[in-house]
């Protein structure tokens, strides 16, 4: 919050005393623009709260006294196995095995964020590398790499995921690998296009005439100019990775129970129509998933507007 407020306060100070010309860094300018967009601010606050919620999951477990996989068969379930609704002992109610939904939601947030962040960082790295190579070298390298991207994009996600999982068995690592495999191509294409344009620019020619090598040009001259699309696309990849993970877990192909994950929680709620008797089993993880993806998308949009003012609000 303080980072966000500082430019505001600086701006306020500037308004009062117009004698001083304030020189603002690029970061400060971005933050200033971002802070003017209330949706982005709310999204950022939500994400910070979510990260804290995930980081302090063990604290929440200790505070409630309910482990994430602990089954409260006496207090958390009726004799016929119907979960207990939200109340004093279980703030968000229990699930069909008598486990505390609040604690599982916190532990599930860890999985969602881990998968979202790790998968998008790795996928972005792969996408940027492939896109940069294709765009920079052009010709046969471009043809080959672009066709590989086309090939990956034409593989049906769920079919491939089901096939892989039934051969290798579900696990967290496999989920992340599948998500990376299916998400690196869009950013790869964007970067390729950008590099195609950038490599024609004068500063690249200058670097080349000064004797810079390919690697030097790519990493020293071109890459810094790609930071804006990389940041925006990586942020926007997080929610789709989270939804992919939830999809896989929902279909029983993601995180292995009893480890909590949001998709797994939704899947268990949908199975056997238990949601009819315990609607909070759908509402709580569903809302968490909805707001998380919404927050990351809003922040991504906000970042795009802030980082690239020329493109902002054109639509």
């Amino acid at each position: 919050m303080s980072v966000l407020k500082t430019p505001n306060q600086a701006a306020a100070a500037a308004d009062v005393d117009q004698v001083h010309v304030v020189q603002r860094s690029s970061l400060a300018l971005t933050m200033r623009r971002l802070s003017r967009d209330p949706a982005s601010v709310i999204a950022a606050v939500f994400i910070i709260v979510l990260v804290l919620f995930a980081v302090f999951a063990p604290t929440i477990a200790a505070w409630t006294g309910h482990g994430p996989d602990e089954q409260f068969r006496e207090t958390g379930l009726s004799p016929s196995g119907i979960p207990v609704g939200p109340g004093a002992e279980f703030l968000f109610g229990t699930d069909q095995l008598g486990r505390d939904v609040l604690v599982r939601l916190a532990y599930g947030a860890r999985i969602s964020l881990l998968v979202g962040v790790v998968a998008s960082i790795v996928a972005a790295t792969i996408g940027v590398t492939v896109g940069m190579l294709a765009g920079y070298f052009g010709g046969r390298v471009d043809t080959l790499l672009s066709r590989i991207m086309d090939l990956v994009m034409s593989v049906p996600f769920l079919l491939a995921a089901i096939a892989l999982v039934s051969v290798l068995g579900p696990s967290l690592q496999l989920s992340i690998a599948v998500i990376i495999f299916f998400t690196w191509t869009p950013i790869g294409r964007v970067i390729r296009g950008q590099v195609l344009a950038l490599k024609q620019r004068e500063f690249v020619e200058a670097a080349r005439s000064l004797g810079a090598g390919h690697l030097g040009i790519m990493f020293r001259d071109i890459l810094p100019n790609l930071m804006v699309p990389i940041i925006i696309y990586s942020t926007l990849m997080i929610p789709s990775a989270i939804v992919f993970e939830a999809t896989l877990s929902f279909l029983g192909m993601g995180i292995v129970p009893p480890t909590a994950s949001w998709g797994g929680m939704l899947s268990e709620a949908a199975g056997n129509s238990i949601y009819l008797a315990a609607p909070w089993l759908v509402i709580i993880p569903g809302t968490a998933l909805l707001f998380t993806t919404l927050a990351f998308n809003l922040l991504g949009d906000g970042l795009r507007d802030a980082l690239d003012p020329r493109a902002a609000r054109k639509a």
Partner: protein, 590 residues
């Protein structure tokens, strides 16, 4: 004994129905009068909704339990059951096409049946009496080389001459003319038509459960015309010849089956089916939720093949819906098989103490709660489910409230040389409640020091990749695995639980995953099968049960009850034992 509770409940419902019948007969018009066993209203079309299709329309092949509802309506057997509320009466054999249940002669080897007069085939060239030869033909068709019957194994070894007949049949070409020629040219030596109305069947060994086996769909008679078609082929289905009160009017696979009254059937020749409704429409391809909602709304009458979810049961119970009926299904589900073939953990599971530790560790009450509580399932401690002759209450590994005894399990585990516990692999199917059941079992075993590695498996791969796959069993891909078993018939059905799962004669059996064998149990079972006195057979089967449980090779956990629900229009909703569903041929519509 465990079936008392639903019986009491069902009787209460019946009593209520009788009261309603006597006090509120105005709605039913002139056809319903005060008498409690007066025939119910007739007419109307029964609307039945299902998720899937029948497995077969040919009674020689039909083995799927819900299909039995259809078979009850369009076929008849020598022996069948009355549709009554009393759980003991419900599984007492009654003569259907036979005039009565015969006592065996010749030291229990020979059964002589008298065929009922007036029971007819709805043959294309006019109604024709069902004769003794039709039964012989029905049994011959069981081992046709094109598609053999699921229940053949029981008849194959039991009926004199069946094995020779079937071995010869196996070499015949699979086209209809060749099969017809073999069936007409060869006889099963133990099945004789003395005359049109007298059938004699000779057995190789005495078998107290033989009359129960004759109540199976697969033992239905077959008219001569069906030999023109390959078994259950599209031609067979479109030329179906009924012997029951209804016949097939139209059938579209996976979509719809319409039954109408069979003109050749007459009520006097059938003591078991009242056939109150004029027609039955079975619509398929619906989800369980959609079906239940339609039943609740009254826009449909009965369900075909779905299980009500615990949440729905809870809803209906909360609303005090008296249309909810619970009956014992005889199934043991889930129970856990222990893999004694694996060398995982240096063959720890081959040690009796380790298996006993597992027995003590499982919290059966928790699994019952996960299944929906004591009203929909009971704790199970032996291999035979409730309603199977030979099932008696006993528990070799008792714990308070059947909640498991982790301390005792730890003690046994330590004695076996594993004071730090064991890591055990458990696959489970990702369908219905099985993920929840697996996690419940996991939680209870972990209290006793086991570490359970859960392996979620696609339902279609579960048996083929793990349990029935002998390589993966030997390689230790699984250590323990939850499965279920439903006896093939009701009542004297212990054989259909014991033989396929717990005997090994050198040839691997599909469902005896670890080649389990116990000679003491086998000797007891052989005596039990030959015992013709039910009480004696029950005692012997109970000893078999205890012997198998002594080896702790399986961990029985729960026996689910069938929870049935129906629409508002349906009256006289009483379950038929073999279909574990309300009897289509005895319900009526208001």
């Amino acid at each position: 004994m465990k079936t008392n509770r639903p019986a009491v409940k069902a009787l209460a419902v019946l009593a209520a129905a009788v009261l309603l019948g006597t006090t509120a007969c105005s709605a039913g018009g002139d056809s319903t009068t005060g008498s409690s066993d007066a025939p119910a209203a007739t007419g109307g079309t029964l609307k039945v909704l299902g998720a899937g299709d029948v497995d077969h329309l040919d009674p020689a092949l039909a083995a799927y339990v819900p299909t039995t509802s259809v078979m009850r309506a369009i076929t008849r057997q020598l022996i069948s059951y009355k549709t009554v509320d009393d759980p003991v009466q419900r599984i007492a054999p009654e003569g259907d096409l036979a005039t009565e249940v015969p006592e065996p002669t010749n030291d229990g080897l020979t059964y002589t049946f008298t065929i009922r007069d007036g029971a007819k085939w709805n043959a294309p060239d006019g109604a024709r009496e069902i004769v003794a030869g039709d039964f012989a033909r029905g049994l011959k068709r069981l081992c046709n080389p094109s598609q053999s019957s699921a229940m053949l194994t029981y008849f194959y070894e039991l009926i004199d001459g069946m094995a020779e007949f079937c071995d010869g049949f196996a070499t015949v070409a699979t086209d209809a003319p060749a099969m017809k020629e073999y069936i007409e040219g060869n006889e099963i030596s133990g099945v004789k038509s003395i005359d049109d109305k007298t059938l004699e069947i000779d057995l190789v060994n005495p078998a107290g459960d033989f009359v129960y086996m004759l109540s199976l769909n697969n033992a239905s008679p077959a008219p001569v015309e069906v030999l023109e078609y390959e078994p259950d082929s599209p031609d067979y289905r479109s030329n179906f010849i009924s012997s029951g009160p209804y016949t097939v009017a139209s059938y579209t696979a996976d979509k719809e089956l319409k039954l109408v009254r069979n003109p050749a059937w007459n009520a006097d020749s059938d003591p078991l089916r009242a056939a109150n409704v004029d027609g039955i429409d079975l619509t398929m391809g619906l989800t369980a939720d959609a079906i239940t909602q339609q039943l609740q709304a009254g826009s449909a009458d009965m369900s075909f093949d779905i299980n009500l979810s615990p949440a729905l049961i809870q809803q209906l119970k909360t609303a005090n819906d008296e249309k909810l009926v619970t009956i014992a299904s005889g199934a043991v589900n889930p129970f856990i098989w222990v893999n004694t073939k694996t060398s995982n953990n240096d063959g720890a599971l081959q040690k009796l103490e380790v298996r006993q530790a597992l027995q003590y560790a499982v919290d059966k009450a928790a699994v019952v709660q996960t299944l929906g509580g004591e009203e929909v399932a009971t704790v199970q401690n032996g291999i035979f489910g409730p309603g199977v002759l030979g099932q008696k209450d006993f528990d070799l590994y008792p714990s308070e409230g059947s909640k498991g005894d982790p301390a005792k399990a730890k003690e046994l585990l330590t004695a076996a040389g594993y004071p730090n516990g064991l890591t055990v692999k458990m696959p489970y199917r990702t369908k219905d409640q099985e993920p929840q059941i697996a996690q419940t079992i996991q939680a209870s075993l972990e209290k006793a020091g086991f570490t359970i590695e859960l392996i979620p498996v696609n339902p279609t791969d579960y048996y083929s990749k793990f349990l029935t796959n002998r390589d993966s069993t030997a390689a230790g891909d699984w250590d323990i695995a939850p499965v279920g078993w439903t006896p093939d018939w009701q009542g004297g059905a212990a054989r259909s639980v014991y033989q396929p799962q717990f005997t090994f004669t050198g040839t691997p059996q599909s469902y005896n995953y670890v080649d389990y064998n116990n000679d003491t149990a086998n000797a007891l079972a052989a005596k039990a099968i030959q015992a013709t006195d039910p009480a004696e057979a029950a005692d012997l089967w109970n000893q078999v049960d205890k012997t198998v449980m002594g080896d702790a090779i399986v961990i029985p956990i729960a026996s689910p009850k069938a929870v049935l629900y129906h629409g508002d229009r349906v009256q006289n909703f009483i379950p038929y034992a073999l279909s574990v569903q309300g009897d289509w041929t005895n319900v009526s519509l208001k």
